[in-house]
């Protein structure tokens, strides 16, 4: 049954149904209503969880890390500078193989100060070892949380995950979503079964130091777990579809790609606007399609190459910039398509909350058609 609610509230509702045992977050700007709602749910005994209040995002994720190592299912949410402050703990959480799920309401990073949306925050942690899933709308945001716990807690994976949804554009938007009944959520996501945990009776250490004889092997193991997460996501996404009727068995999702000559590649809510723009371009006879990258970590390079094998040109919409290089998604898509003969053009777009209209999507397609790319789209040269 569809219900009408704000994106942040929908996240709080699905997190409740995932039955976290420990929640810790730092509720100052930048934040969303998610942790406010969860704090209220805990206070009202709607969730049987410990809500740990802390003095910073660094402490919030540290509390989650400790609680996870002690054998609890844990949850946090953050965005922007808050995630930046968690940087060190993010690497530790992945290195200690703790299946923490954290919502990222994507926002830009300062300076200059900007409260608005882009995807710089989570993308900047692409090397941290966390799985990264990107939602197109609030229904996907809800669904990906359940899938994330399932994938992360798989004993073959044991990695943390970001569930990313665009700050404001999704987090503050009211739209219909379908939430599972608690019994349905329980049927999909059983109680947390930790692979190993801190126990005074059987002592273990997490986060020990590794000498040069061992460090490389630890990193290799994390990387292998990332690659195994592809199959785990496909499996969890398929099971989700079988139970709830919404299939997530693809690491990527194609839209009108079958006979496309030009393909847009994007992540997150911009895909919705792109699909509407593509329908208009298709109606005008232009063979344009879209590839939505749902899973950015692990990076689905071969899956992208397979999905795009029929096109001649690719236009990547990057809501981030790896300064001094280029858009992170574009760079990796180029690597995935190396040797394919497909021309890949990257467009830095929608930074710091700049709105994207259907006509902007069409303009990007025009640029790609002319072979003009690897550029900031819509740059206001008059203010430079």
């Amino acid at each position: 049954m569809l219900e009408f609610m704000e994106g942040s509230h929908a996240v709080a509702e699905i997190v409740k149904r995932c039955r976290p045992q420990v929640i810790s977050a730092y509720p100052i700007t930048p934040q969303t209503h998610i942790v406010e709602d969860l704090a209220q749910m805990v206070a009202n005994c709607e969730i049987d969880a410990e809500y740990i209040t802390v003095e910073s995002e660094f402490s919030a994720l540290s509390a989650c890390l400790g609680a996870s190592a002690a054998g609890s299912r844990v949850y946090s949410a953050t965005t922007s500078q808050g995630l930046a402050l968690m940087f060190e703990v993010c690497f530790n959480a992945a290195g200690m193989r703790q299946p923490i799920v954290m919502t990222i309401a994507n926002r830009s990073l300062g300076a200059p100060l900007s409260i608005w949306n882009d995807q710089q925050d989570s993308i900047s942690l692409r090397d941290s070892g966390w799985l990264q899933f990107y939602a197109q709308d609030n229904q996907e945001t809800v669904d990906l949380h359940m899938i994330a716990y399932k994938v992360c807690e798989d004993h073959d994976i044991l990695l943390p995950a970001f569930v990313c949804f665009d700050g404001f554009i999704l987090s503050h938007t009211y739209e219909p979503v379908s939430l599972p009944m608690q019994e349905e959520a329980d049927a999909y996501l059983p109680a947390f079964n930790p692979y190993q945990r801190l126990d005074a009776a059987a002592p273990l250490s997490f986060g020990m130091y590794a000498t040069p004889e061992y460090y490389t092997e630890f990193r290799y193991e994390i990387n292998q777990a990332q690659y195994r997460a592809k199959e785990a996501f496909v499996r969890a996404g398929r099971e989700f579809g079988e139970q709830f009727g919404r299939d997530y068995s693809g690491l990527v999702e194609g839209y009108r790609l079958d006979d496309a000559d030009i393909a847009l590649v994007a992540m997150g809510s911009i895909c919705g606007t792109a699909k509407d723009a593509i329908d208009e371009m298709r109606a005008a006879g232009r063979k344009v399609g879209l590839l939505n990258i749902r899973v950015f970590r692990p990076f689905p390079g071969p899956e992208i190459a397979d999905a795009l094998k029929g096109v001649s040109k690719v236009a990547v919409l990057d809501k981030n910039i790896s300064l001094g290089s280029g858009g992170a998604v574009g760079t990796e898509v180029k690597a995935a398509l190396q040797g394919s003969g497909i021309s890949v053009y990257d467009y830095i777009i929608a930074l710091g909350g700049r709105d994207v209209r259907k006509r902007d999507i069409a303009a990007v397609v025009d640029l790609a058609e002319k072979g003009e790319g690897d550029m900031f789209y819509g740059l206001r040269t008059e203010v430079l």
Binding site: F168, H172, T173, Y174, E175, S269, I270
Partner: protein
């Protein structure tokens, strides 16, 4: 798909109006979407909020540039802000004013409903918060939402006498505009 843009000032409840209108539309069986123009929120500063209505799932995420409908909560915005921007013939504008003196700015073919919502709000609520009054006017002028769905949305948001007062304010504007449609 139809689109609504609400113009107001920070503190006038434009974002709440968008949410409640979209909720009432959803209750009426269509897909709807409500969101604010994300800005630095300050009391008194010009703000915008948006609603989309569609028979199909809504994918579009851009702001509203060519609205079918606008609501203007504060007539002093007209002139400061191009509230009619992007409107074309057939559009409907619901404007809170006691002195409609902006004819020169209205695009050709746009139907204006001037409602003295401030007076209604003062009489019914005791405060010049016009958002719920203008929702009633919007329901009557556009037919996008039914009055009973709007009442339900208001009672879901407000409780007790506050709900009754807001419903009465919305009904008064609904009847006032309904007589003019």
């Amino acid at each position: 798909m139809r689109e609504l843009r609400i113009h107001g000032r920070g503190g006038q409840g434009s974002v709440t109006a968008a949410e409640l209108i979209a909720y009432a539309a959803f209750e009426g069986g269509v897909f709807s979407q409500a969101f604010p123009a994300f800005g630095v929120e300050r009391r008194g500063a010009p703000v915008q909020a948006f609603v989309r209505f569609s028979d199909e799932k809504i994918r579009l995420r851009s702001q509203v540039y060519e609205p079918d409908y606008i609501i203007v909560q504060d007539p002093t915005l007209i002139g400061d802000v191009d509230v009619f921007n992007g409107m074309t013939a057939g559009g409907i504008a619901i404007i809170n004013t006691e002195k409609p003196d902006f004819d020169a700015l209205v695009p050709e073919g746009v139907k204006i409903y001037a409602v003295d919502a401030t007076t209604i709000a003062l009489e019914e609520l005791g405060v010049p918060i016009t958002n719920t009054t203008l929702m009633g006017a919007f329901a009557a002028a556009t037919g996008e939402i039914k009055l009973d769905a709007l009442e339900h949305a208001l009672r879901r948001r407000f409780s007790g006498s506050m709900a009754d007062k807001n419903v009465r304010a919305a009904e008064r504007a609904y009847n006032l505009v309904g007589g003019a449609v």
